[in-house]
């Protein structure tokens, strides 16, 4: 009982110094601090050092950043350039489809066509698989000799070893794997739109397309902003698909930055964690920049 009265006193105080919000965000902040901020702080520190994961890190100031960004002769400069370029390309190719396909499917399902529940489950199912299973399925699908894709379309395409097919394959696999997440968000959003909006539009004689553009999309604006930003961030972190499907090939054209970061930090040779960390930090800054732009253009301008 004592505790309760104590808390009660606390809330009475809130009106003056307003600690209520901090009670709401406190639990998350605590976990965030311990399990995210401290490790990332360490990661930033490591980016200013030379470190092999085992001995004491040696502080080298900005040397890693200089090498990655400006030393044209260094392999790490090259790794960063191609890796970042490929990552941006992938984001550019994949994100639009990762938004539009689920949006289209969610809208279609919202009209409740026949067997919609079955379709909905089918569309959602791929996102439940771990990436290694996804890759095994699609490696079979894209196989030159035995793959059903080439068989079905009477093709002889080397999907994973030629451009632009390698990008096409990676985008297909990524969209297939990630449809579920965004689709569910859109479905929840669609269900939140009050029916009377549509009824009013019906009275005005609006067409289906008009209703979609004038009512549906604006009502889902905040969720679309969320999915665009989140999908972009997660596609910047693409790793498993190129690693296991194309191996970064042909000729490094699908080698994304995270593959280089991972290999430098935890590869089969001695670890080069300082460089890896610096690359990760710069990638993080790039993601932040892109996400801020998206916020700027998509935010609710009231």
């Amino acid at each position: 009982m004592k505790a309760v009265t104590g808390v009660n006193k606390l809330t009475k105080k809130t009106s003056s110094i307003n600690i209520t919000p901090w009670l709401f965000i406190g639990p998350h902040l605590l976990i965030f601090l311990i399990f995210f901020l401290v490790p990332i702080g360490f990661g930033i520190y490591i980016s200013f050092t030379e470190w092999d994961l085992i001995s004491q890190p040696d502080f080298v100031g900005l040397a890693n950043y200089k090498e990655i960004l400006f030393n044209h002769d260094s392999i790490f400069y090259e790794q960063f350039q191609t890796g970042l370029k490929n990552t941006f390309l992938f984001v550019l190719f994949a994100v639009p489809f990762c938004i539009l396909v689920p949006l289209f499917l969610a809208t279609a399902l919202h009209a409740k066509p026949k067997f919609w529940k079955i379709f909905q489950s089918l569309f959602y199912m791929p996102s439940l698989f771990a990436i290694s299973a996804v890759v095994i399925i699609w490696k079979l699908m894209f196989d030159v000799t035995y793959g059903p894709i080439n068989h079905l379309f009477q093709l002889n395409t080397l999907w994973l070893r030629n451009q632009p097919y390698a990008w096409v394959s990676l985008v297909i696999v990524t969209v297939w794997w990630t449809i579920g997440g965004n689709m569910v968000i859109y479905q929840a959003a669609l269900n939140g739109i009050p029916k009377d909006y549509y009824e009013a539009a019906d009275i005005d004689g609006a067409s289906g397309m008009q209703k979609f553009l004038k009512i549906t999309l604006p009502s889902m604006k905040s969720q679309i902003l969320y999915t665009v930003v989140l999908t972009t961030i997660s596609q910047f972190n693409v790793y498993g698909q190129p690693l296991m499907l194309t191996g970064g090939g042909p000729t490094n054209s699908t080698r994304v930055l995270l593959m280089n970061i991972q290999q430098n930090a935890f590869g089969s040779g001695q670890s080069i964690a300082g460089i890896a960390s610096a690359m990760a930090i710069i990638l993080g800054v790039c993601i932040m920049a892109v996400a801020s732009l998206q916020f700027f253009f998509l935010r609710d301008k009231k």
Binding site: T11, T20, P21, F24, P27, H28, I31, F32, I34, F35, F36, L37, V38, P39, I40, F42, G43, I46, S47, L53, K117, S121, Y124, M125, S127, L128, A130, S132, A133, I136, I137, K139, G147, H151, V184, I185, A188, N191, G192, P194, S219, S222, Q223, Y226, V229, L230, I233, F236, N237, L258, I261, Q262, A265, F266, S277, A280, L283, M288, A291, D300
Partner: protein, 236 residues
């Protein structure tokens, strides 16, 4: 050789092989471990996320915008090199080989808060104001008015949190060494040989592994597709 996607023969033999070996691959044990981990993680995430999202979306406090942008910003750094410091923290807390190592750290994510906050922003602020005039405090507005309205999105969050922790494989294999304590996803990787590629066995395992997440989805879809009618929220 023609292409067969799911020949009956391998399906049955692989499942028999999977389920029959109890010492080196205690499938049922892994399954239960995963269940405990994922359910606890989901509950923790739900609590933490709904509370914070409410504050970031509807309460006013000094530095709110800046704090939230800061949280989002830091979340954008790829966490590759954080593995070692994070492990050290887990080690200091004595959580190595404990399910807590998998339940708690993931709750640091800001993305779910962002998602719930986006949904909350669609709920008219008038609802809160009306309640406040009736004498409700912030906790009451949160629990009586907002929580019932965001149920659909909380189901989405549960689904994401559950699936995410269920499918994680690198982190659990770092923090667990006891075979009996492992969750199912890294456990199933032990079935895959180092050199021998056995896609069939792995696929059989992959299908076993998605059963609970799929069931959860089937259960959840019924509810999050229920129209969240705003007016009923006010009455209730």
């Amino acid at each position: 050789m023609g292409f067969k996607l799911l020949p009956i023969e391998w399906v049955t033999t692989n499942y028999v092989e999977l389920l029959s070996d109890n010492t080196s691959t205690p499938l049922l044990r892994w399954f239960l471990n995963s269940l405990v981990i994922s359910v606890s993680h989901t509950l923790l995430v739900l609590t933490v996320v709904s509370l914070s999202a409410f504050a970031y979306s509807r309460l006013e406090f000094k530095g709110k915008k800046m704090l939230f942008s800061f949280l989002m910003g830091t979340m954008m750094f790829p966490a590759v090199v954080n593995l070692i410091p994070l492990y050290k923290i887990i080690d200091t807390l004595d959580w190595v080989n404990s399910p807590l190592a998998m339940i708690v750290p993931g709750a640091a994510s800001v993305f779910n808060i962002f998602l719930v906050r986006q949904f909350m922003s669609n709920i008219p602020i008038e609802f809160d104001e009306a309640a406040r005039i009736d004498g409700a405090n912030d906790f009451q507005i949160f629990s009586k008015i907002i929580l019932p309205l965001i149920k659909p999105v909380l189901l989405v969050v549960s689904l994401f949190a559950f699936t995410g922790s269920w499918n994680d494989f690198l982190w659990p294999s770092i923090v667990f060494s006891d075979i009996e304590k492992m969750p199912i996803t890294p456990g199933l990787q032990l079935l895959q040989g180092m050199y021998q590629s056995q896609p069939t066995l792995l696929m059989a395992g992959a299908f076993v592994a998605i059963v609970p997440t799929f069931v959860l989805y089937l259960f959840a879809q019924k509810y999050f597709l229920e129209s969240m009618s705003l007016s009923s929220g006010v009455k209730g």
